[in-house]
Symmetry: C2
Subunit: 218 residues, 2 copies
């Protein structure tokens, strides 16, 4: 049997302005541990802003999403506009504010957000091809915005859940490590750091969501 291959889409490097590092690393770890492989993609664009992660304040700097994502990927990142659904068995979005600041404008515009054009194309392409998409933490809002009438979880945050419903999707509360599966649309979502979680619980969530995806295409 051919090894299953994930495309992981990153939004930078660091929870407050990019991809959440623990969620990303533990998703990569889960994929390889479970006998699959991955490539990393990111949009070649400027970050919305740069946050000093020590103080939580904006820095007077500019950084590029793909270049910073390469820190987590040890150099190996492809531009997202080159992503082709035909080459992959599954798509995975880790969380972090980058999903809501760079891959979309959800952090600023809520249900009226825009989704970055290559992110939208990747989601629509995989969905049309009947291939699974996994999303962690806040990243499931991308699926709600792009696909509309789907079933996702972002954990238990009331405001975010209401925004999800306003985008035409339905929301179910979940707890640490739980995976919500929308079988019809092949969507796999798990709350990770949208809950007040330990890194061990992030490992559980990443492991469980990757296992559910691989089981669905076994």
């Amino acid at each position: 049997m051919k090894m299953k291959k994930f495309a992981i889409v990153l939004s930078g490097c660091g929870v407050f302005d990019g991809a959440e590092i623990h969620e990303t690393t533990l998703a990569m770890y889960a994929i390889v541990k479970q006998g699959a492989s991955y490539d990393v993609f990111a949009p070649d664009m400027e970050q919305h802003h740069v946050i000093n992660h020590l103080k939580g304040e904006e820095m007077n700097e500019k950084r590029n999403v793909m270049i910073e994502a390469a820190r987590i990927a040890r150099g190996n990142v492809k531009p997202l506009d080159q992503f082709d659904p035909a080459d992959y068995d599954a798509l995975l979005f880790p969380g972090g504010f980058g999903a809501a600041k760079n891959l979309s404008t959800f952090a600023f515009d809520g249900p009226n957000c825009k989704v970055q054009v290559d992110v939208e194309k990747a989601i629509k392409g995989m969905h049309k091809a009947g291939k699974p998409i996994a999303a962690l933490c806040i990243a499931p809002v991308l699926l709600a915005k792009v696909l509309g009438d789907v079933k996702i979880t972002i954990g238990q945050d009331k405001g975010t859940a209401e925004a999800v419903v306003k985008m035409g999707a339905s929301h179910e509360n979940t707890d640490h490590g739980e995976v919500l599966i929308d079988s019809e649309n092949k969507l796999f979502t798990t709350p990770c750091y949208m809950l007040d979680a330990t890194i061990a619980q992030i490992g559980d969530g990443a492991d469980n969501v990757v296992r559910a995806v691989l089981k669905s295409i076994a």
Copy 2:
């Protein structure tokens, strides 16, 4: 029994100019999974340089080691000059070029390198207190330089092993996931990405080194 507590010392955020992200995250994960806890420390100093991780080239930027380390630590980093060996059961250094560019000058000066003053103090303090120190990947060179006559591994790289010997330490080759223990000095070293490793093998190394440390102080 009181929960064991590690101090993790970071050198930035990203393999080519800071702390290796997978090694750091998987060490944190191993610590919490095995029932211990951790605090993160980093020196409050400018990075030696900033590398574009996509192209491998130097960028015309300045970044601070502690501020960038906060990306991996989700904001929670203490300045290394505040580290007190009395507060911790073990010290752990992930790898990444930051260990050889920021925590020391090993990448440029080899066996004649200098070790950053707070790093040296932390290592000497833990060693004197008879407490264990773990080091991954290239970070064991810090132990060789500061402590001299100790036994470590940096994997199988001949040039680096020779430099270790020149600093007065002895070196043993190791393979993926193996932990070399210097019982007398309570040093625990493992090669991680000093070998051409998968992220699953990094997880094994991190898990094994943390388990060996915890066993030694159970």
